[in-house]
């Protein structure tokens, strides 16, 4: 096979693409070290805003709440999403399978406004009917996030199960594993990468979400995106830049760790 020369076209197009993606983020990081109080005016380097950030009770508690919610809903979504994805891939062919598969992925493309509104209506109706969940707050945000993150996990797990060699499970049974232990001995370790990436995806989606959380949260339970958004409406402060930089750092570390984990796994 002939070695393809990398032309100037490839270099410039990839450079342009990366610039387009990362210039806004880099400028945000640089401005988080701005000494000036005015966001748009450069006043020299400083860690001042990071200090201020860690003094800000409102932001810190919102961040903590967001992380808690993201952790719990990602974990719940992984449990239910794996069950759904596993079941769908194992039920074989039946009437309406396409429809069910479509339904499970519908929340992925559903406008968030609609998801948020419908969940709000559901929670209100449920409270009227049997008094649970009482009021709106952390619990309702967790339920809402679990609902839409579950769809992502189910899709990822189902894709992984599609190229799962079922003779592996038969081999395990043949060697004396009962179906109950089989899942944990063979199936789960093999779909673990999919579950892990489903969890990470859910965690970031939940951390990210503003619209649905705004619909279903109650007074006092504001997640980080909600706090940032309300702050920005009063004008962008350099504090928010610092906060955003930290979030980018956390997400980047998470993604790198997840990728290294995936690379360690043997190919199926």
């Amino acid at each position: 096979m002939a070695v393809q020369r990398r032309s100037w076209f490839l270099y410039t197009s990839s450079a342009l693409g990366f610039l387009f993606l990362y210039v806004p983020i880099i400028s945000l990081i640089i401005y988080s070290f701005n000494k000036s109080k005015l966001v748009t005016v450069w006043g020299g380097w400083s860690f001042k805003w990071y200090g201020e950030l860690f003094q800000n009770e409102q932001i810190l508690s919102a961040a903590w709440l967001s992380i808690k919610i993201a952790f719990i809903s990602a974990s719940l979504a992984v449990v239910f999403g794996t069950m759904a994805g596993f079941a769908l891939s194992r039920m074989g062919r039946f009437r309406g399978k396409m429809l069910l598969s479509g339904w499970i992925s519908a929340p992925l493309i559903m406008p968030e406004v609609i998801t948020g509104l419908s969940l709000l209506l559901l929670f209100v109706a449920m409270e009227d009917l049997f008094g649970w969940p009482a009021g709106r707050g952390t619990l309702t945000i967790i339920l809402a996030h679990t609902t839409f993150c579950m769809a992502y996990v189910a899709v990822v797990v189902q894709a992984r199960m599609a190229d799962f060699d079922t003779s592996l499970e038969e081999a395990a049974m043949d060697l004396g594993a009962k179906p109950s232990s089989l899942f944990f001995l063979v199936t789960l370790p093999l779909i673990a990468p999919a579950i892990l990436s489903g969890w990470l995806l859910s965690f970031t989606l939940s951390l990210d979400d503003l619209v649905i959380a705004s619909f279903v949260s109650g007074p006092g339970d504001s997640t980080l995106p909600m706090v940032i958004f309300s702050k920005v409406r009063l004008g962008v402060t350099p504090e928010v830049n610092a906060l955003a930089t930290l979030m980018i750092l956390i997400v980047a570390v998470g993604v790198v760790v997840a990728m290294l984990q995936m690379r360690k796994r043997p190919k199926p």
């Binding site: 060699d165 003779s167 060697l175 093999l190 190919k267």
Partner: protein, 388 residues
């Protein structure tokens, strides 16, 4: 040789040490399919099969895809339940016995090695389910690795092994629990030709050493011929013939078996002379009669089919001395294969016959050339008469 049905004592020397329990009518079968039928929806995969397999046999189920051979194997492993009939292993009815409770292990076609476990842990998997002591597990795994000559690769993951090494790990894993019965699904299918030949003999050695009964499923007739003590030829859910490799090849009982195992020339004809000690058949394609020196069970004037293997025909320029069992034609095509040459000879009737000649001397392949007129002839006991 007096009749086409009589068993031949000339048996496969490779499998000689195995006891020929199948020749003893009173022998107790180790595996017994008793009128087993398996249907999937409206498709009959296995159609009322009765089959006995004896202890220490290396039994090959041979058939094309969709012949039901894999379904038969999966029913032994317990992955499928018979729709009708019963399966006995060592006199125990297997109905309702789950795969994890059967005294059977299986080597899968894809090997089905657990990709997340090392070679050692793959082999130890079955022993751990038995809750054996760690020391015993370690020792038995090490013994198995030695047997398949992979002692140095125990810490590797399956994807770090070659195809042949994976095959041996799969074999070790299926043997480590010392099953009474080992099922092998196309055990050599994924290996290249050279490796396959070496592994065939290794497999036979292991089987003899351990004394385990093997049931092998394969679509490769060469593999079946080399491995098996007996072969069961399957077609469309039925077992059409069971016998030793020699019997199956030399005395096929139907056109299907004759064609499926090796290549064969089939000639349609009619019985003209039917005596207890000889038969003459007039073939549609040439004048001289086919003469057999033994009787067959048929009606006079019955339409039959004469099967002659290509290597049992001789080819010459001059007419042979014999007046029976001969015909002549023109060489249409020659394929030089090294050890032998294959000739395609077109008879005057238009029928093509396939003849192979061993190249016993260097220039014997050059004795004949295209478009030459040649005579074909064969011995009185070379042809087989097929009535179905």
């Amino acid at each position: 040789m007096t009749s086409a049905k009589s068993p031949v004592s000339n048996k496969n020397p490779l499998t000689a040490p195995a006891p020929d329990l199948w020749r003893d009518p009173d022998a107790r079968p180790f595996v017994f399919f008793d009128g087993v039928t398996k249907t999937f929806d409206d498709f009959t995969a296995v159609d009322n099969i009765s089959l006995k397999i004896y202890k220490r046999e290396l039994f090959c189920l041979l058939g094309g895809s969709g012949s039901g051979k894999s379904t038969l194997l999966r029913m032994l492993a317990g992955f499928e339940q018979p729709t009708q009939g019963r399966i006995l292993i060592d006199d125990v009815d297997m109905a309702g016995i789950q795969p994890w409770n059967r005294p059977v292990n299986m080597m899968f076609q894809s090997y089905a090695l657990f990709p997340h476990l090392t070679v050692e842990k793959n082999i130890a998997f079955g022993l751990k389910r038995q809750r054996l002591a760690d020391v015993d597990i370690k020792r038995r795994v090490a013994d198995m690795l030695d047997m398949v000559q992979l002692g140095h690769l125990g810490k590797r993951k399956p994807h770090q092994l070659s195809g042949g090494q994976r095959q041996r790990v799969a074999l070790a894993r299926s043997l480590v629990k010392r099953p009474k019965l080992l099922l092998l699904d196309e055990p050599l299918g994924a290996l290249d030709k050279k490796l396959r030949e070496e592994t065939q003999f290794e497999l036979i050695n292991i089987q003899e050493e351990l004394g385990v009964t093997f049931v092998v499923v394969t679509h490769d007739q060469e593999e079946a011929m080399t491995l098996a003590t007996r072969i069961g030829v399957m077609n469309q859910g039925n077992i059409v013939q069971v016998g030793e490799p020699h019997d199956i090849y030399e005395y096929p009982n139907s056109r299907f078996v004759a064609r499926f195992i090796g290549s064969v020339n089939l000639l349609d004809g009619r019985v003209t002379e039917d005596e207890p000690d000889r038969v003459r058949i007039r073939c549609n394609d040439f004048e001289p009669p086919v003469y057999l020196n033994h009787g067959i069970s048929c009606a006079p004037n019955q339409e039959v089919c004469v099967a002659i293997r290509p290597e049992k025909m001789l080819i010459s320029h001059e007419p042979p001395a014999q007046t029976d069992n001969t015909c002549s034609g023109v060489i249409e095509d020659i394929a030089y294969m090294g050890s032998l040459s294959v000739f395609r000879v077109r008879l005057d009737s238009g029928k093509e016959l396939r003849v192979t000649q061993p190249n016993i001397s260097r220039d014997s392949g050059a004795r004949f050339t295209w478009n030459e007129r040649v005579h074909l002839y064969w011995d009185v006991d070379s042809a087989v008469v097929l009535t179905s």
